[in-house]
Structures are given as C-alpha cells and as structure tokens.
C-alpha cells in the first residue's frame, strides 16, 4: 500500500500517542483501525485537516477527560463519529443502531467463526 500512510498529516494530530521514533502507537487493535479509517477519509478529501483538528480538539477538551490520557482514542472515535454525522454521511441514531447490532453479532458468533454483522439475530429476523 501507499508509503504515505505513515506520513499522513493526521500523525500531527494533537496529543497523539507516539513511540520514541515518532510513530503512532495503539494500546488496542480497534484504535489502529480508527486511526486508519480517519487517514483514508482525509486522504480522499472527505474532510480537511482543519475540520479534523477542530473536531478532535472539541473532544479532547471536554471536561470529563481521564487525567492519564487513556481515553485518547475514545475521544478520537467520538470526533470521527461527530464529523461523519455533521457531513451527513450517517446519522447519530443510525450509528448507534449499528453499534448495538455489532455487539449482538459478536455475542451470537460461535467460536472460530468470523464475527460478521449478519450474525446479529435481529438483523436476520428483519430480512
């Protein structure tokens, strides 16, 4: 894939956790996925750097932040969610419904099978 991934301007996002050599580091896999999605959307011009910086900053400066910054990627995902809603890519309720659907799908997926949204029992009933 493109070598520009690591040089995405998003690496300059405020307070981004980084290793000693300046690469982003992630405590859990979902954080890397959230970062990667944001990089792709920005690369494709879905939003500008300043739109992103502003959305992230709004979340990072909310009053209930954890002192140790352990919730950094929670803020990141909240910023991304608000941005895609503000750009009318999805609505808040649509996103929340999908969150619950994925949780039901995970719990309904037996060991050894890939977790897929179709595994949500309620989704199947509706079809």
């Amino acid at each position: 894939m493109s070598a520009c991934n690591t040089t995405s301007p998003l690496v300059a996002s405020a307070q981004l956790p980084k290793s000693a050599d300046g690469d982003p580091v992630f405590a859990e896999p979902w954080q890397a996925a959230a970062f990667a999605m944001t990089v792709r959307l920005h690369e494709q011009g879905v939003f500008s750097w300043s739109e992103w910086a502003e959305a992230l900053s709004a979340e990072l400066h909310k009053p209930n932040r954890k002192a140790d910054g352990i919730d950094y990627y929670d803020c990141w995902v909240a910023a991304l969610s608000h941005l895609v809603a503000a750009l009318s890519i999805t609505s808040g309720p649509e996103l929340e419904a999908l969150v619950r659907s994925w949780q039901r799908a995970a719990e309904a997926t037996p060991h050894g099978k890939p977790i897929a949204l179709e595994n949500d029992p309620r989704r199947r009933e509706r079809k």
């Binding site: 894939m1 991934n5 690591t6 290793s19 690469d23 982003p24 580091v25 992630f26 405590a27 859990e28 896999p29 979902w30 954080q31 890397a32 996925a33 959230a34 970062f35 990667a36 999605m37 990089v39 792709r40 959307l41 494709q44 879905v46 990627y73 929670d74 995902v77 991304l80 969610s81 895609v84 890519i89 999805t90 649509e94 996103l95 999908l98 969150v99 619950r100 659907s101 994925w102 949780q103 995970a106 719990e107 309904a108 997926t109 037996p110 060991h111 050894g112 099978k113 890939p114 977790i115 949204l117």
Partner: protein, 210 residues
C-alpha cells in the same frame, strides 16, 4: 476474575465486543456502505502498524523462559501466574497456557478470528492467518499450511494444533536458537517474533535478528 471452569457449558458467549470495538466496526460499516473506505485498505494500513499495537509482551515472557529454568517450569505449570508475575495481565484476566516446542514437537495456535485472540501478548495476527479457510486447513493439514508459508518441518516432527477459547489462550514457546548463549533477555526477546509465538514461524537466529 478467575476460577472459571474451561468448559463451554456456561453462559458466556464465545465472543464479545467492547463498546469501542463495536463503535469502530459500526463506523467501518457505514463508511464502507457509502463507498468511502475499503475494509481491505484499512487492514493494510493497520498491518503497517502491526508492531505498534498492544504491549506485545509475549516476547519477554519467552526470553525469560529461555534464560531462567525456574521461570520456564513455572510457565509450563501455570502460565497465567508466571506471566502475571512479569506485570502482564489480560483485560479479562484470561487464562493462558504456554506450549513448548521441542526437538520432537512443533506447536501451532489456530484461533485468530475470535475476539479471544490474545493480541496483548502476541501482537496482531497476520492478516492472511485470519482467513477462515486457513483456520480449517491448519487443523486438517498443519504441515501443508506451514510449508506454504515457508516453514518446512522435518517429516518426523509432530505438530500439535491448539485452538484458543474465550477462557484459555495459548502462547507457543519456540525453541531457543543456537548461538544465543550469553545474550541478555532483551537481546533474546528481539529474536522472538509474533509468528514464532503463534507457531507459524521459528524464533530468529542471532544473525537474522540484526
């Protein structure tokens, strides 16, 4: 947070997403439907950060097992406690079991699909290994799958396949490479790759580790 039986007859589901895991999947679904991202492209970016995700502390566990026979015995008997003694504990306090490669036996862990994969210890699984076809093939023909990925094992070496569950997760302790006498734990840990702790590879030799 422990003391469960390892059976499947309780009411714990095999898989569980935290709120954040589900939220990121939901975003991915929406953005994919709108044609704004391709999940394969996201996987590819994540893979470039493979070594940047999680504490990946399994390599230090293996290095200590190589250098300290007492720790190695403890790891064999009670991996959960031995690993915790190094300050590494899982999110859900899951049980770990260490399986040791020997000159006669090679161990391979197959479950990389479930949310139970111990990424905190092992690092992210290779993307190719998450394909459902590999899981079933690795169970039926582990030697063939390993050979395809460049690990040709002698015909007389036994291969044991381990399938982790929500309650019991595995780490392979690869054989200590030759020519590593006198290396400290940190240098030894550099030789312990993610693949060697899943069993799809061997530990690096000191020359290759440079």
């Amino acid at each position: 947070m422990s003391g469960h039986d390892h059976g499947h007859d309780d009411h714990h589901p095999d898989n569980h997403f935290t709120d954040m895991e589900a939220r990121v999947k939901a975003l991915e679904t929406v953005l994919t439907r709108k044609g704004l991202i391709d999940p394969a492209a996201i996987d590819a970016i994540v893979e470039t950060y493979e070594t940047k995700v999680g504490p990946r502390n399994g390599a230090r566990v293996v290095a200590k097992a190589w250098s300290d026979a007492g720790f190695s015995d403890w790891l064999k008997r009670d991996a959960t406690a031995a690993i915790a003694s190094l300050g590494f504990t899982g999110r859900q306090g899951e049980h770990m079991r260490a399986v040791f490669n020997t000159p006669d036996t090679h161990n391979l862990v197959v479950c990389t699909l479930c949310s139970c994969y111990p990424w905190a210890v092992l690092g992210l699984p290779p993307v190719w290994y998450k394909a459902p076809s590999y899981r079933s093939r690795a169970v039926i023909d582990p030697r063939g799958v390993l050979a395809e990925f460049g690990l040709a094992l002698p015909a007389d070496k036994k291969i044991r396949v381990w399938d982790s569950t929500a309650e019991l997760r595995y780490i392979v302790v690869p054989e200590r490479p030759d020519g590593t006498e006198g290396l400290d734990d940190e240098a030894l840990a550099d030789l312990v790759t993610r693949d060697s702790m899943i069993g799809t590879g061997l530990a690096l030799s000191p020359e290759a580790g440079r």
